[in-house]
């Protein structure tokens, strides 16, 4: 597949050079890339799901390696893998139902009894699903419509299946690919609409005359605040500037143009201001499986200040930011050190970096980390596109989105080879 190869290389390059900013854009582009990878994968006759999983993993591994800091890439890769597994499973169970059906219809021509085995096949399917993943609130709720929907498809599939085995195979292979692509499309849709979905919940959280504090800049936060403003809530926003990139300045500017009463403060003034704040609302870089947050640098300090004054600390995160890994996992690269020139002018300080004299080592060392880790106990609430969640609920949510088999991308392929 030379076509996708070029696409993959191009995207890898962009990731490597850090040319894509923001996890949403990265997530979306990753999903789109994987979609084309899937559509280009040639399907064997047997074990199609494995083939798809293999090709997605091969690409995914390279993508993750290209920019290990951007966890959204890995998240999307894992979700696509999960989608493949799910679709495969539902097709298999459907086929099983169909086989059962045809087998039984061979024995008896009584069409009245048709429904009974089909139903039992659906029951098997849902049972096997629930054994695969721990029962969660959502699956429990899903179960009812599932069992209603499955018999319908299986009975319609059953008609064609009786005719020829090979036709069934090809239609199944096309169906798997088709279903997967369909589901990936839904995922892309989800990723692009997650901000609106989050913003819709704004009115429930922001009340009249409240003071909201945020740090740095996040599009999700901006839209969240603006959504509340549009619903005629009047409130004030404190923006901490977010040194050293000072994205808070941009956010403040943007908020003011949307007509929000905004106050810009330095990061170090957060503690002084927090007592006047009703709620802290921030964006995140990634949400880990334990409910911890990887967020722009400075947020841990804000979270601690908020805890001290019992101010709710609310994190907005689209579901593509949910990472199934724990922060102590060796594969997780928690931080990226950016150039010290964001803090200091190199020309001015180059004389402090004089290696040619003395011990040959500079006395000045500038560290410019991009992210902070906020432990789950400091977070009051996560607002995702599916609603508000407690930090301790995160692993449940994650179990819905990811298969346990995919958590470690690299080791799997290594052992496979």
């Amino acid at each position: 597949m030379p076509d996708t190869q070029a696409l993959v290389n191009d995207f890898l390059n962009k990731l490597k050079k850090r040319k894509i900013e923001g996890s949403q854009a990265t997530a979306k582009q990753t999903a789109e890339l994987l979609r084309s990878v899937i559509s280009q994968t040639r399907m064997p006759y047997t074990n199609q799901a494995a083939a798809l999983i293999h090709s997605v993993k091969a690409v995914g591994e390279r993508l993750v390696a290209a920019n290990p800091v951007e966890l959204a890439v890995g998240n999307v890769v894992r979700r696509v893998l999960h989608i493949i597994r799910e679709e495969d499973l539902s097709l298999t169970t459907a086929a099983m139902a169909g086989l059962n059906l045809s087998a039984e219809s061979d024995d008896e021509d009584d069409t009245d009894r048709d429904n009974h085995p089909a139903l039992s096949a659906a029951a098997i399917a849902s049972a096997s699903r629930s054994t695969l993943r721990p029962p969660s609130l959502q699956t429990l709720l899903e179960d009812v419509p599932d069992s209603a929907a499955v018999p319908h498809t299986s009975s319609s599939g059953g008609d064609s299946e009786g005719k020829s085995k090979s036709a069934d195979k090809s239609s199944r292979s096309r169906k798997l690919k088709h279903d997967v692509i369909e589901a990936v499309n839904e995922l892309i849709q989800d990723i692009s609409t997650c901000r609106e979905l989050i913003a819709e919940q704004a009115v429930e959280h922001i009340h009249q005359n409240e003071v909201i504090l945020t740090l740095g800049s996040s599009r999700t936060v901006l839209e969240f605040l603006c959504a509340a403003k549009e619903k005629k809530r009047s409130f004030r926003v404190f923006v901490a500037e977010g040194a050293p990139r000072y994205q808070g300045h941009l956010l403040a500017k943007e908020l003011v143009t949307r007509g929000l009463q905004t106050t810009l403060i330095t990061d170090s003034a957060v503690f002084a201001m927090i007592s006047r704040v009703n709620m802290v609302i921030v964006g995140a870089h990634a949400v880990m499986a334990n409910g911890g947050v990887i967020a722009p640098v400075g947020l841990n300090m804000v979270a601690l200040a908020a805890q001290k004054h019992a101010v709710p600390f609310v994190v907005l995160a689209g579901s593509h930011k949910l990472c199934p890994l724990y922060p102590h996992h060796p594969e997780v690269l928690l931080n990226e050190l950016r150039s010290p020139s964001e803090l200091l002018d190199f020309g001015e300080f180059s004389d402090c970096l004089d290696f040619g004299s003395g011990i040959g080592a500079p006395l000045l060392h500038v560290v410019n980390p991009t992210f902070d880790y906020v432990p789950p106990k400091l977070v009051s609430l996560f607002i995702t596109d599916t609603g508000g969640h407690n930090p301790s609920y995160m692993y449940r949510l994650i179990a819905d989105y990811y298969s346990a088999d995919d958590l470690v991308l690299e080791r799997r392929t290594a052992s496979g080879n």
Partner: protein, 726 residues
């Protein structure tokens, strides 16, 4: 910063016709045409030497790619096969929007030759970036390119934009950071045009000479010694043809830039673009290799840092700037200090200490080894108990147990150092014998540019080691292989300058002393270049005090004139007194005068006006003066706050009567009385003045005598008052 950069790129690509006509091109010179990296460069081209474990050319190419260059022509000369082979096998040959084309030459001996060859090939179709393959940068080209294009639209002669950056204006820092000489540039601060460029200023002379037309032609010139040349140039097509026209141009800076600046027939101009926070530097010698490696490890070159550039090989940054590949075998007792890099597959033994060093891939390092500030490339074996300080150790070197490398040692490829052998400081060791002295001062690196000799040499490396071994056993200890290169006469003193080792303290002290002496010398001299680079002219060696006085005197005269003009305008245009006061005050501030001077100056202008207005007799003059004083008394009063200022006015008046307005001489007492009446002068001031004059010369007392009566009267009045008081 990221957002800003994004916006900028977007803006450029919106300029459709510019983009459609020429994709941005770059010429990368993969040959430095110098011998500074010998003996290493005898076997491998400089651009392929690893810089923090990544070949230098990768940094340059990665930067060009991210800066939006679409087509790069890599000019290879020395070891061209190696460069071409590397590029073909690397990722650069398969980039979607970035094409790398190699141009091979076997007989170019300078950058000038290279550019002439490229001109002949006719591949450059517009503005291009000229850079050598040993430059590390992360600057954004967008702004500089835009400036260049805008200038070109206005003036077709602006053919080159040179990137410069700020650096500390001290030759010591420049020496100890990049090992370069001090650089002087004269730049027009408004247009940023480069007017003068001198990188080989002779310190012993203690001065530099500028062409006087340079000062005459330009309204303002700033002479910088605090700029660093980044060796990144944005050139227009004409540059190439200029090299062809002037076939004697060899060196980019020494011949081309200086040639353009001196030669004003064609009127070509060079401009500068200064970068502030981004990084740009060129690896010119071993010292800059050391410095830039450390800058990279400290991430000043972000995003061109090892963990980002390598990508897949999973190098992680840990605390204290430690870069470690995923599969390093590290003994539990090994001590890793700060700012180190350890490549894949390297094994490190017990109790080994490593700090401020770079260690490449698949190296084996034994126990009890000390490595400080050294650069160890790939596949190196270091046995137990070795000590390395500030050394460069190339691929495949073997250090037998107990070997010691003193600061500044360079071990070229596959050298073997025998047991317990101490390699003396600053020595360069290679398997190849030192070329005979022929080209020590020539700038050549093409000794084996043809593939034939290259292969021959490698054959020799593989096959002939046995005879070498017996031959050179004495030079590098038992079992050692390699030749220690001799240092040329006189060059030994210079070794420390460009070495990878820190400058020894005694040399630093000497540098410092030299500099101080220079400065002393300079202050005694006529033209002074102070540390800040500003140019002063001292008229004579007589010390500066006279000068100062003269200066202030001149200032006072012009101030007086200004005040007079202001006053006249105030009179003629009926300006309100308040405004006049304001204006005079402003003048006072701009000339840095005391209010004492103001009073004098205003009074002077009033009297002058009185004299100049038509009058026939002394009484008329008196009336004129009285009129003016009455009208403008408020102005005068607002500058006469205390007794000293009033005395100043009297003294001023006295002076006038003697010099410029002799007509007043007769009227002196009357005017004095007038001023007293109008309460401009108080009796205290007048009496004090009289007291002071009491002891003066006879000639000085003329006016005192004339006004004796008035003073007498004043004194009596005062006494009466006192009596009344009693």
């Amino acid at each position: 910063m990221g957002a800003q950069k994004k916006g900028a790129t977007a803006r450029v690509s919106e300029d459709p016709e510019e983009l459609a006509r020429h994709p941005l091109q770059a010429i990368l010179l993969a040959d430095s045409f110098t011998t500074k990296f010998r003996p290493i460069t005898l076997e491998r081209p400089k651009v392929l030497l690893p810089l923090v474990n990544i070949p230098m050319i990768n940094y340059t190419l990665a930067w060009l790619e991210s800066a939006g260059v679409e087509e790069v022509f890599v000019f290879c000369c020395a070891h061209s096969k190696q460069v071409i082979g590397y590029l073909e096998s690397s990722e650069w040959s398969s980039q979607p929007n970035f094409s790398v084309t190699t141009i091979e030459s076997h007989n170019s001996i300078s950058a000038g030759d290279a550019l002439r060859l490229i001109y002949e090939r006719n591949v450059i179709h517009g503005d291009f970036v000229l850079i050598s393959g040993d430059t590390v940068s992360n600057m954004s080209l967008t702004q500089a390119l835009q400036e260049h294009k805008d200038r070109r639209k206005k003036d077709a002669n602006a053919i080159m934009t040179m990137v410069v950056k700020q650096s500390k204006p001290s030759p010591i820092t420049q020496q100890s950071r990049l090992g370069t000489d001090e650089l002087f540039m004269a730049i027009n601060p408004v247009t940023k045009q480069l007017l003068y460029y001198e990188d080989k200023a002779e310190y012993s002379k203690g001065f530099i000479s500028l062409d006087k037309t340079l000062i005459a032609d330009n309204p303002s010139v700033i002479l910088h010694n605090d700029k660093q040349d980044c060796y990144i140039d944005i050139c227009s097509q004409e540059v190439l043809s200029l090299f062809t026209d002037n076939f004697d141009y060899q060196h980019l800076r020494r011949h081309f830039v200086k040639g353009l600046l001196v030669d004003d027939i064609m009127g070509y101009k060079i401009f500068t673009h200064e970068i502030h926070s981004s990084y740009a530097a060129r690896i010119d010698n071993f010292r800059s290799y050391d410095t830039i490696s450390k800058d990279i490890i400290q991430r000043w070159t972000y995003p061109f840092v090892p963990d980002v550039l390598c990508g897949s090989s999973a190098i992680k940054v840990e605390r204290q700037g430690t870069y470690r590949a995923s599969d390093v075998t590290l003994s539990r007792s090994a001590q890793l200090g700060s700012f180190i890099f350890i490549g894949q597959g390297t094994k490190i033994g017990n109790d080994t200490k490593i700090s401020h060093s770079v260690i490449g891939e698949r190296c084996t390092i034994g126990s009890n080894v000390t490595i400080e500030g050294s650069y160890i490339w790939n596949n190196v074996t270091i046995e137990d108990g070795c000590q390395l300080r500030n050394a460069i150790v190339c691929d495949g070197v073997i250090l037998k147990s107990g070997a010691v490398l003193q600061p500044g040692v360079i071990l070229s490829f596959k050298v073997v150092v025998g047991q317990q052998f101490v390699v003396p400081a600053y020595s360069k060791v290679s398997l190849l014998q030192q070329p005979t002295q022929q080209d020590s001062d020539e700038e050549l690196e093409y000794a084996d540019s043809t593939s034939g000799t290259g292969e021959l040499r490698s054959d020799k490396l593989n096959g002939d080691i046995a005879p070498d071994l017996s031959e050179t056993a004495s030079e590098l200890g038992t079992g050692g292989v390699g030749y220690i290169w001799k240092v040329f006469e006189g060059a030994y003193d210079e070794e420390w300058r460009h070495s990878v080792a820190p400058i020894p303290t005694d040399k630093l002290v000497k540098l410092m002393l030299d500099r101080d002496e220079d400065e002393e010398l300079l202050t005694q001299d006529g033209n002074v270049i102070s540390a800040s680079g500003e140019l002063k002219t001292v008229s004579d060696g007589n010390g500066s005090e006279d000068d100062d006085n003269e200066d202030s005197r001149d200032d006072y005269v012009s101030f007086e004139k200004e005040v007079e003009a202001t006053f006249l305008r105030a009179v003629h245009e009926n300006v309100k007194v308040d405004l006049a006061v304001l204006e005079v005050n402003a003048l006072r501030l701009s000339y840095n005068m005391a209010s004492v001077d103001c009073g004098g100056a205003i009074f002077y202008s009033m009297m002058k006006l009185a004299v100049e207005s038509p009058h026939n007799s002394a009484s008329e003059l008196h009336r004129n003066a009285a009129d003016i004083v009455t009208t403008w008394q408020k102005l005068l009063k607002s500058f006469l706050h205390d007794i000293d200022e009033e005395i100043e006015v009297i003294l001023k008046f006295e002076e006038m009567c003697l010099e410029s307005a002799k007509e007043f001489a007769a009227l002196f007492p009357q005017i004095l009385h007038l001023l007293y009446d109008k309460e401009i002068l108080h009796e205290d001031a007048i009496l004090r003045w009289a007291d002071e004059k009491e002891g003066a010369d006879e000639s000085d007392k003329v006016f005192l005598k004339r006004s004796e009566k008035f003073i007498q009267w004043l004194r009596e009045a005062e006494e009466e008052e006192e009596e009344e008081d009693e």
